[in-house]
């Protein structure tokens, strides 16, 4: 047997390839029957229960920071009446999918990774395969779909809570006019902004689920390996999310014309 000659970065490429292969496997198994409805509902509920409160708590200051920043900026250039418009745009298009993704990855993904990883080292995954049940279909697919669903729903919640937080801080702390804030909502924002926001959340949920499952299915061995895998899963997800966010935003801004242009 001739081992392939290792070259720098070969390991990283191999891992990436396997990650993509898992992504494709999951997509294919997702449409295959039987669908694990029970597991899907349980996992969705579980992810919601670990993410909903932190997400709400994060999104209030996030909306506030954006509102405050924009408030002072717009005052400097004399466009106070557009504060609402700009903060809605910033929150819905950028802040809300990212906040959602960070919490899905940090709270949901780490739990998924730890769960699958500990099953792997206890040979439960092997046992399942030997019993003729695909762990991808039985365990991974419901979790990935649950992460996607919850991240879309959370995204909606973050948008609402963020905009409300922005409104509160703008009106109460910066003496903005409530009417102007609300009236300018639709000055810059348009419906496709909401779609791209939800689409981003969907993709981020998918990535978080796949990375968590991939790291969970391939721990380095032993309980410590599972801990490392969880850690890596969260870090890898973050890196991927910001990159994908950049790509999606670029495409969106190119493809969908800004309002009024």
């Amino acid at each position: 047997m001739s081992a392939p000659v290792p070259f720098p970065g070969a390991g990283a490429l191999r891992e990436t390839g396997r990650l993509f292969a898992l992504g494709i496997d999951v997509t294919r198994s997702a449409v295959k029957r039987p669908f694990q409805l029970r597991e899907f509902i349980q996992q969705s509920w579980f992810i919601v229960s670990v993410t909903v409160l932190p997400t709400a708590l994060v999104s209030i200051p996030f909306g506030a920071v954006i509102a405050l920043q924009l408030g002072s900026l717009t005052r400097q250039i004399g466009a106070q009446s557009f504060t609402g418009a700009a903060s809605v745009l910033a929150i819905i298009q950028q802040a809300s999918p990212i906040v959602t993704a960070l919490l899905i990855a940090g709270a949901g993904g780490s739990a998924i990774c730890a769960d699958i990883g500990s099953r792997k080292i206890r040979e439960e995954i092997d046992a399942m395969e030997v019993l003729g049940v695909s762990p991808i279909q039985r365990l991974v697919v419901p979790r990935v779909l649950a992460a996607m669903l919850v991240s879309v729903l959370l995204n909606g919640m973050v948008s609402v809570v963020g905009v409300m937080g922005g409104y509160f801080f703008n009106v109460v702390l910066q003496d903005g006019t409530p009417g102007a804030y609300l009236a300018s909502f639709s000055a810059l924002a348009q419906l496709p902004d909401l779609w791209i926001s939800e689409f981003k959340a969907l993709v981020f949920g998918f990535i978080a689920g796949i990375v968590a499952a991939y790291r969970g299915l391939n721990p380095a061995g032993g309980p410590k390996g599972v801990g490392d895998a969880v850690n890596q899963a969260v870090v890898i997800t973050f890196l991927l999310l910001f990159f994908v966010n950049f790509v999606l935003t670029t495409i969106y801004l190119t493809v969908v014309p800004a309002k009024g242009s």
């Binding site: 206890r122 092997d126 046992a127 019993l131 003729g132």
Partner: protein
């Protein structure tokens, strides 16, 4: 009847480290086989390769005409439904109670009603002596119970091949004896092919029809139990007697200096605690519990072994013939103590060379 597992030229390595190479054997259908070997010789890896969890680099594993090493994933899942595997720690699903664990394969693969599932599960639970523990979680029970629950789960789909990874580890000798009896009873009832991987000598001596041993990255031998139990191979002798003197060391192999030092110690009168008696030799096999049907495997194996007896070493021949009843002896045309008469004209000298046919090429057994 269980199916035959044919393994040809199997080689497995992790990176640069070869686990074993060129393993060739065939596990006869419906018989009980044991694979022995010191710790770390890749016994568990061998078992996992047989169910397709690990992919060997070379060779074939043929079950029902399908090569497991090179068949598509979907086919693999089909074939795995014939398997019942008992993992070392039971590998139960931690989030389910014992009942749901045992019921899992039934609920996934069959359309049985909940009442039927319940009946089958309770029957298997009773078989392994776990009645009353259905509601417990795997984390709440002892290792032995987990193991038995794992066995019950492996049995619910009436597998044709049962693979057991160290059924004795973590069990006391009494429970091990019960488990051995259970496996033999199972074989009598459902006639499944059973492969047990272990390093327990008692299990190896009393349970199997066929016995093999892995050492130093290869299959030392595989064949009828009498062959290994009477073997003069130094590795086998050392292993069966559990001695320090011999080729097996603390790490896998021993160098000449260590071996010489150990021999010197022994000659100087140092006792290493190993028994003086030699436990090699053919001992009676466990029989099914009275009341159960006789094992068909025993009859089939007898016919098979008697047809190849002239190729076996003399000690094994004598052991086999001595275990026959007078009626059988006359049926097969041999006499007790007359091993030489049916032996090949020139008995192979000891120690046997590696290329002797019966040692590793057991494909025609």
């Amino acid at each position: 009847m269980g199916v035959e597992v044919v393994v040809e030229g199997l080689t497995k390595s992790f990176g640069k480290q070869t686990i074993w190479r060129d393993v060739t054997l065939s596990i006869p259908p419906g018989e009980v086989s044991v694979m022995l070997g010191p710790s770390g010789t890749g016994k568990s890896v061998f078992l996992k390769s047989l169910v397709g969890l690990l992919k060997p680099e070379q060779g074939k594993i043929i079950i029902n005409g399908t090569d497991l090493v090179r068949c598509p994933e979907s086919k693999l899942y089909e074939i795995r439904k014939m398997f019942g595997v008992l993992f070392q720690d039971g590998a139960l699903f931690g989030s389910m109670n014992l009942f749901d664990n045992v019921a899992f394969p039934l609920r996934e693969h069959t359309r049985k009603t909940e009442a039927e599932v319940r009946r089958i599960v309770l029957e298997k639970m009773e078989m392994v002596g776990l009645v009353g523990a259905e509601k417990k979680l795997p984390g709440e029970i002892s290792g032995g119970m987990r193991k038995r629950a794992g066995l019950a789960r492996a049995l619910v789909l009436d597998p044709e091949i049962i693979l057991c990874d160290e059924p004795d580890s973590g069990l006391d000798p009494v429970r091990t004896a019960y488990l051995s009896q259970l496996l033999i009873d199972l074989n009598a009832q459902i006639d499944a092919t059973i492969l047990i991987v272990t390093h327990n000598i008692t299990v190896a001596r009393t349970v199997p029809d066929n016995l093999g041993m892995l050492f130093r990255r290869e299959l030392v031998m595989f064949g009828p139990r009498e062959v290994l139990l009477t073997s003069d191979e130094p590795v086998v002798e050392q292993f069966l007697n559990g001695r320090r003197i011999g080729p097996i060391g603390m790490s896998e192999e021993k160098d000449q200096a260590t071996m010489a030092a150990e021999l010197a110690h022994r000659d100087a009168g140092h006792s290493d605690g190993s028994p003086d008696e030699d436990v090699r030799g053919v001992v009676p096999q466990i029989e099914p519990t009275p009341g159960l049907p006789a094992r068909d495997a025993v009859r089939r194996r007898k016919d098979r072994v008697m047809s190849i007896i002239h190729t076996l070493p003399t000690e094994a021949q004598q052991g086999i013939i001595a275990s026959l009843t007078p009626a059988e002896q006359s049926k097969y045309g041999v006499l007790a103590g007359a091993g030489q008469r049916v032996a090949a004209p020139t008995p192979t000298p000891y120690p046997r060379t590696r290329d002797t046919e019966w040692q590793r090429r057991a494909g025609d057994l």
